[in-house]
Subunit: 209 residues, 2 copies
DNA sequence: GAAAAATGAATGAACGTTCATTCAATGATG
DNA sequence: CATCATTGAATGAACGTTCATTCATTTTTC
């Protein structure tokens, strides 16, 4: 955004957040730039100087906030994973009809892929997997476990079929969804509202047997 | 396998395959080495000298057979795509009951992921996508089109549900399958025979409505 | 022994990272 | 208030490394 304007942010009102004013801005700018570029070109395809340029900072500045490219990727991954999960399940009323909850979640996921394509794409990237450390993988696991829990609960309540393990069921549905979105992005298919609704219904029926 | 033994392959019995004896061998050795390494480390993660070492040839030799790494990746991709499709549909009797054909194909795909994990993994790699040229993408499209055709045919015959477009249906099933196998490989899940059979049945039911 | 094939050290481009330097902001001095 | 001293965030040229590719040389073939 801003190139190298010294007085742009907080001239003298530094008393608010202690006295380290622009730190968060630069960090965010770097993360945002990394997200935009990585989502498009893959982690391996994007050099650090390009990230710096896109963020509007010097190359060396990145290393004041992130010890290495690997750590940058990991922190980006973790922050986004947490953010997405928070927004995806925010105000989700689990006491409504299971079918309604399922539809609501499906719609939210679709909306997310549309409104935040970079975030979705980055998180689904396979290219960054070798970079991810144990902490990031833990975050990913923890993000998934409540979903498995819900699948299991719905099986117990007799809503979902019981002849398939909850993890397997969830894996099938998630794979179907991801591949549908990817096929559209890769230009193999063009999705209309009807397609997405039909896919959602098919996945629901897959779960209920 | 063999490290760098110069006489390992065909010392003097060169008369067998016409008279261009080791040419095919070297080319194949390079392709096989590339496959094994790329499948594990990704195209971007594997340097050419390592491919040469694994193939038991000099680095420069690779460039006698492939003009560049990019072309090597593309030829590997194409040959495997054709090979897999041939083996996957070989002797497939389309006149049997659709359900039997579906089960047979599902079983063949599972078997392929087990018997040729490197091939399957390389072909499903997202990492090589930026390398693929138009010809490779054409091969991929052509490999897919008969499947869509079959889905459409089964819809016409009233076997598959008609309220979802064939492309969408196929995308869902393929995504479910790929994600199931990936989840196992990534250690998120461990699949037993029952799981795979149950997943297959669920996908069939997804198609038939 | 001429021609073709194979080789791997050499090459230079590109990468992630570093660090000597800059300079706006702040504090100290008179 | 004006001046000077100090600070540390920011910088980007430079560094060492890695990689794809080349080519002078050697080995093999016929």
């Amino acid at each position: 955004m801003n190139n190298h304007s010294p007085t742009a942010n907080s001239p003298q009102s530094a008393s608010a957040e202690g006295n380290r004013p622009r730190v968060r801005d630069k960090r965010s700018a770097i993360l945002r730039a990394a997200l935009e570029l990585f989502a498009e070109g893959g982690v391996n395809g994007i050099p650090m100087p390009l990230v710096a340029e896109q963020a509007g900072v010097g190359t060396g500045t990145i290393y004041r906030y992130f010890a290495s490219k690997e750590l940058l990727v990991n922190e980006l991954f973790r922050e986004l994973k947490v953010l997405v999960n928070r927004r995806l399940y925010a105000d989700l009323d689990l006491h409504r009809q299971p079918r309604e909850v399922f539809d609501e979640l499906w719609q939210r996921m679709v909306r997310y892929t549309r409104e935040e394509p970079d975030i979705y794409r980055f998180l689904e990237l396979q290219d960054h997997r070798p970079y991810l450390d144990e902490q990031s993988r833990a975050v990913e696991r923890e993000a998934l476990s409540p979903i498995v829990g819900q699948y299991r609960a719905l099986q117990k309540r007799g809503v979902f079929r019981k002849d398939i393990r909850a993890e397997v069921l969830m894996t099938l549905v998630w794979g179907a969804f991801v591949n549908l979105i990817r096929a559209e992005r890769d230009g193999h298919i063009s999705l209309h509202e009807d397609d997405i609704r039909a896919a959602r219904d098919a996945c629901w029926e897959l779960c209920t047997g």
